[in-house]
Every structure is written in structure tokens, then in C-alpha cells.
Symmetry: C2
Subunit: 271 residues, 2 copies
């Protein structure tokens, strides 16, 4: 038994999709969520810059006495996961290994696609993990620079988003993949569009669900769960505008977020 909260971070609201799945799976656990809104988006930034941001946030969350940290951002996982694991005392999970594993388990024709940000595709982390799990899988990554800005825009469900999705998945249809990893925590927010455009014959693997499953298994195997009967308590922190975060969280996740604490970049990097 371990009553400490689980820490979760992302550049913005995308990681809330991971948090949402964690809340469904682990209703008795406490969570501390930090969104680095002051510096989003991470996707187009150089990986070493994202790595520095992630190390600051990881150390900050460790100071909040969390028992486990979830990097709920594919770009930050690509950039920083091994370093966070090596530097921090608490275990750190990312959002890439769980989906790579699920995709290899799922595919029948052993052709797997990936939709992700430029940084995630460039890091090659999905490709190397998929190959380590099944050397016979043919892997087809596509970077989708327009999707995150569209999803965070005022019209996330408009024709422009559907057109962008159609354009990005054309090479995956061409390659005949039967399983696609949605390798960005924003993408569940347009799940109906993705499912409609891909059709029934393609299985979509979402970061959020697979990561929540990994968090649950890890806490169980380590014997670090909180008491089963209780209701979890959630803390929300942002380096940006608390009101905007509250609004985004409510809009995309149907989660009425109460107080949002503001953390300055100076507080984040203080040691």
C-alpha cells in the first residue's frame, strides 16, 4: 500500500487523455497533473530542449512526493525517458512502449502504421521498439505537423481537420497496414474522425489506454496501490493560464476541473 499520488505531465492538455484513462482504471489513486502550457507545443521543438524541460518537471514532481511519474507526452517520452529514468528515484513510465507492444500484439498482417509529431517520428523510438518486439513487422511512420494546432484551435472538428487526416493516412492505406498507433496524446480528441476515415478494418492503438493499463499493472506488481475503497483526489498545475487550462480540460474531457494552481518557470526549475 502506498498513499502517495501519481505524477503526470505533458506540454499541455493532450496528456489529459492519458489522465482520463488512468482515472477510469484507477479511481482510488490520487493524481498530480502538470501541464507546461507556458512552453507548448513541444512537438516542433529540438529534442534536447524538450529533454531539458522534462528533466525540470520530473525533478519538480519528485519534490511533490509522487510515487510514480507518467510522461504523458509522446514527444517528451521520445526526448527524455531514458534520462528521467536514470536520474530520478521514482519509476518513470512513458507513452511509447505500451502502444508499441499493443500494436505488435494486435496486427494480423504485420504491417503497422504510426501517426505522430515530427519530433516523435524523428526520434525513431517507436520504430526501434516495434522491431525489438517483432523483427518481421513492416513499420510505416507518418509525421502530422498540422494535427495538434488544429486540435487546439477553435474548430477542432471542422473540414480542415478531416482533410488533414485524409492526407496523412493516404500512405498508410497504400501500405495496407491493419493497425495504426496514434502516437500523440492529442489524437484521442478527434477519435471519431480518425475511426471514420480509417474504417472498421484498421485497429487504432491509443497511447492513453495502453499507458493507463501499464500504470495499473506496474502499481499492482510493485504492491504500490492505494486503498481500493477510496475516491482519488486530483491536483492540477500549469505553467500557463489557469483559466484557459480549466476551460480546455472541461471542453475536451468532460472533466470539471476545480482549482488550477499556477507554477512559475522559476518554481519549476528551483532545486
Amino acid at each position: 500500500m502506498d498513499p502517495r499520488p501519481v505524477g503526470v505531465f505533458d506540454s499541455g492538455v493532450g496528456g489529459l487523455t492519458v489522465l482520463h484513462e488512468c482515472l477510469v482504471t484507477l479511481p482510488h489513486e490520487d493524481f498530480v497533473y502538470l501541464g507546461d502550457h507556458a512552453r507548448l507545443p513541444y512537438g516542433p521543438r529540438p529534442l534536447d530542449e524538450v529533454r531539458d524541460f522534462s528533466r525540470e518537471i520530473g525533478a519538480f514532481l519528485e519534490r511533490q512526493d509522487v510515487k510514480l511519474i507518467v510522461v504523458a507526452c509522446n514527444t517528451a517520452t521520445s526526448a527524455a525517458l531514458p534520462q528521467l529514468q536514470a536520474e530520478l528515484t521514482v519509476p518513470v513510465l512513458g507513452v511509447i512502449t505500451p502502444e508499441a507492444h499493443a500494436a505488435v500484439q494486435t496486427t494480423r498482417n504485420r504491417r503497422v502504421g504510426l501517426l505522430a509529431t515530427q519530433g516523435t517520428v524523428d526520434s525513431g523510438r517507436y520504430a526501434s521498439l516495434v522491431r525489438a518486439l517483432d523483427a518481421g513487422v513492416s513499420f510505416h511512420p507518418v509525421s502530422c505537423p498540422r494535427l495538434v494546432p488544429l486540435i487546439e484551435s477553435d474548430d477542432p472538428y471542422g473540414p480542415e481537420t478531416e482533410e488533414a487526416v485524409r492526407e496523412y493516412i493516404a500512405p498508410l492505406k497504400e501500405a495496407g497496414v491493419d493497425t495504426v498507433i496514434l502516437g500523440c496524446t492529442h489524437y484521442p480528441l478527434i477519435r471519431p474522425i480518425l475511426q471514420r476515415v480509417f474504417g472498421r478494418d484498421v485497429t487504432l492503438v491509443f497511447s492513453a489506454e495502453e499507458t493507463a493499463r501499464e500504470v495499473a499493472e506496474t502499481l499492482e506488481r510493485k504492491g504500490m496501490e492505494n486503498d481500493a475503497g477510496r475516491d482519488g483526489v486530483y491536483r492540477f498545475l500549469t505553467t500557463g493560464d489557469p483559466a484557459a487550462f480549466r476551460e480546455m480540460g472541461r471542453r475536451f474531457l468532460q472533466l470539471p476541473i476545480g482549482d488550477v494552481e499556477h507554477v512559475t518557470l522559476a518554481e519549476l526549475s528551483a532545486v
Copy 2:
């Protein structure tokens, strides 16, 4: 739904521990088990020789119309898994990834030990997978050349086995590991000795259980399970002496094996 059997192979009887866990988890599936008794043990052989044997057996099992192949031998997995996955049409699972994953999930102090054959330790596959999953884990491999011969001897539970176990685990006690991967499919056969010598504070991760779990998840995700209501049918094949295989299977696994079919090495390598 897919009525084809699952293929399982090992150099000898060790893989029966994996088969046993698969039968418990998947009682409705059919299995074809091949033991390469004519050429055991694999542990001390050069890895490229083990790779050639594994490729012959993989192709042979594919000709038996299996839907999935399980390499139920850590040495063969170390030597041949990526090549089998690249060459065969059916998916191929090995016994190393599942335990590496379970060990990383399980450890609390992030110190993990490995007991395995020389070939498995030398291949470095466990070390690289554990590090890929958690770059902050300190990993302590120990090769145990005496254990397989002792387990296959006439006196597997004698003082010599306990003495060998005490000697092999001394460096793991020294390193303070809290989780140990038993990276050879023979080791569950001396589970009580191992648990007694390690004590309650160390969690033992067995190939057999983790691999059965991976097989079940894979069949489910791929939608390739057999009908749930039925009883599985099992075929046993050996390149060695069918009577000796029957006896070993009964002795170690409490599984009354009926007919055992003999396969010559020429039949195995025929194309």
C-alpha cells in the same frame, strides 16, 4: 476465431513448463509441442548453431499449419528470435521480452537479477530489453552452467542442486536485488528450492507464466482464439526417444502424455 493449433518448441523438456502455463491459461486451444531431444542441450552450444536448429524447427512447425509459434527456450530466443520473426509468416513469440517487462514492472528498488544459461547471458538480450524499458534499473546477470544438467539428472532435488543455487545467487544477494528473472525454462522445476534460498523478500519472475500471459493477450488482440467452450487437443513430437520424453513429461509436469511422435532430423530439415 482461428482453430489452428499453437506451436511450441524447446531443446527438451524445459519448454513443457511454458506449455503447462499455456494449458492453464488457454484450455480451449490446441497445441503442437516439439522437443529437439536429439540435439540437447542448447545452452552450451554456439549461438549460430542454435539459430540454425531454431530456423529448421520454425519452418517445420509452420508446415504443421500452426497459427503462432512460441520459442519456449531462452537460449533459442536469444539466438534466433529476430530471424524467425523476419523469415516466418506466422507471428513468433519468445520467452525473454515478457519476463524483462514483468521484472521492470515488479522491482521496487530497481535492482534486478538474472539467472540463465551461458548462451542467454552472453547474448545480452535481457540486459538490453530491461534497459530499453527502464534505463535506471541496475541489472545483475549470473550464468548458471550446472543447473540444467542437475535438473535433468536422476536427483534434481538433492543437496548438490541446493548448493549450486546458493553459489549462483550469492552475487545477487550481495547486490541487494529485489526481483530475479529465472531466465531458463528448466528453472520452474526447482521452484521450491529457489524460493526457499531467496526468501520472501525477493520476487521471482518465471518465463513460463509471463510467456503464457503474452500468448493469451496476443491471440485475444489479434482475434485468433479458438472457440471458448472446447477442450484443447495436444500433439507431442520429439527428435529423440519418445519413451524418454513421455517419462520426463510425466515426472516433471504431472501431465500424462499419451502418444509421442518421432520426427527425424531429416524430416525436420526437409523443405
